[in-house]
Amino acid sequence: MKNTTFKIIYTNFWSHPVRSLGLVILTAIASASLLTSVLFSKSLDTGFEQLSSRMGADLLIVPGETEVSDQPVLLQGGLSHSSLPHEVLEFTRNIPGIRIASPQFYFTTLSASCCDEKVNIIGFDSKTDFTIKPWIRKTYKKDFLPGSVIAGSDINIDKSGKIKFFDQEFTVVGSLEPLGNKLDQAIFADIETIEIFRKAAASKGYNFISVNEPSAILANLEENADFEKISQKLYGRFDNLQVVPRKNMFDSVIATAASFKIAVWAIAGIFLLIAIAAVTIAFSISTNERKKEFATLLIIGAARKKLSNIVLGESLLISGSGAIAGTLLGTVAIISFRFLIQENINIPFVLPNVFAIFLAIVGALFVPAIFGTLASYRIARKVGKIDVYTALKEDA
């Protein structure tokens, strides 16, 4: 395209600023909602993948009052603080078909040096653990020494690398990758460190944990082991517990995530359709008003293809500007509000890696720009076939 063509496109954009900017804003909204949908869906997928890989247990044993069926409490990091009788762990380990069983301990401190809010502490047995340790091993490779803790990704650690609970200092030896739920605001410690916690708490008059009474037991089964038989054995021996199979741990998470995805994609689709319709209608009106202008260009020697290109160029300018603005807006919005989203949707939400974000941005840039331009394609072709005599006569 030549400079004059650009000038015609540019001057026409600004000759109807309200209409042009209105279309830009509409396309920007479509682009932003598209980007948000892609990133939102990817973030849910990433969060779920991380959660799923962390929760590599075939079954979960929790106290009876834990509302696992309504809300996957443990998976979301909304921790239950009740505990199981101490005999459950040994009993579980001895059930035929159980390959491994490992306890976990959940409790909350009322105050800590790191944080304004209360902090969740999660204890695990490093000798038997198979769910937390692999996750921790991604960032921390050394031994779990007594008195050392690993911090969730959202825990602020000062330069000293120490954190204080009940006036007892603990050494933070590593920080974890984000999970996208409240576990990012938790402290993880081996069972020996949990005992130090317990003593420090007891010295302050708090006797709320016992390393003999775990909050949950996670187990993996032998191949061909029968979950029903195992759970019947547990239910036959203990009254106040629940045995949750792996499938049920994720059911409500998957269902909730699917609903959110459908909602955000529907919103993005609606905005995209509205933007396409608006561009089509606006360009149809605009080109009708400008028939004389196009006829004039033909008369002075513009090829018909150039007339089509002018219409497509105007459409691309509007759709492209909207797509750029929308992509910027969408990126800033989802990055800025990700914590708020994590807090409110109550399911794992972790932004995907930089490459996936980049791809989403490219998609959000090009899809509305291309759809917006294509929306005016039929009109551009019509303009390219304009009859000079009729065009000049019509609004003489």
Binding site: I8, N12, E293, K305
Partner: protein, 227 residues
């Protein structure tokens, strides 16, 4: 330059019925000719000029410039031919409203990134009495001023064929004669001028006259023709 039109027919459909706006017209013009096509409104003059200018393809017949059938050219080639060789002044004044008068006039040059001959444009504006309007926008101009802008734009690229449809329709008698004199001077330099009009004042400047009636083009050999 030789413009030769043979058996030109342009058919339109009006209320479901076909009619020939131009019917088997034969037309011929040399370099240096000042040709007037005289006829009532609706006789087909504008349609004929549109076909001669290469903007409307005839239903049948051929139009050749220097032996080249112009509708055998690709659209881009024909567009370039219009830009370089034909200055067309349509009946209804048409400009680009977001461009100034000067920008409208130089549009035919800038469309193909050609260097604008400022001295030539300045002289044209002076001759047409619109040099003071160069930086105005078309919406601030009267009908007569817009008509003169159209004429200046058609002449900006120094075409060797000028086709003008009622070029003096919005002009007073003095300005009409000014335009005719300008066309006559151009014809003397070898430019072929074709105007469609019902202003009989044009006959005094022409050397060839055609009459147009109900789509038929009839060479005038009588009262006004072949001076």
């Amino acid at each position: 330059m030789i413009l030769n039109g043979n058996n030109i027919t342009k058919q339109y459909t009006r209320r479901g019925e076909k009619f020939n706006a131009v019917n088997n017209a034969d037309f011929f013009a040399w370099s240096g000719d000042f040709t007037v096509i005289f006829g009532e409104s609706g006789s087909g003059k504008s349609t004929l000029l549109n076909t001669l200018a290469g903007v409307t393809e005839p239903t049948s017949g051929s139009i050749e410039i220097d032996g080249q059938p112009i509708f055998a050219l690709k659209d881009e080639e024909r567009a370039l031919l219009r830009n370089e060789r034909i200055g067309y002044i349509p009946q209804n004044t048409a400009t680009l409203p977001a461009f100034t008068v000067a920008e409208n006039i130089t549009l035919s040059s800038s469309l193909y990134n050609k260097k604008v001959d400022k001295a030539h444009i300045g002289a044209l504006l002076n001759k047409l009495g619109i040099s003071h309007l160069a930086n105005e926008y078309p919406q601030n101009l009267s009908g007569g001023e817009l008509r003169r802008v159209s004429i200046a734009r058609a002449l900006a690229n120094k075409p060797d064929l000028i086709i003008a449809d009622e070029p003096t329709s919005n002009l007073d008698e003095e300005n009409s004669h000014k335009v005719y004199r300008l066309f006559a001077r151009l014809a003397r330099t070898g430019v072929s001028v074709i105007i469609a009009t019902h202003d009989k004042n044009a006959f005094g400047y022409s050397n060839r006259v055609y009459h147009m009636k109900s789509g038929a083009l009839i060479p005038d050999v009588g009262e006004y023709g072949n001076l």
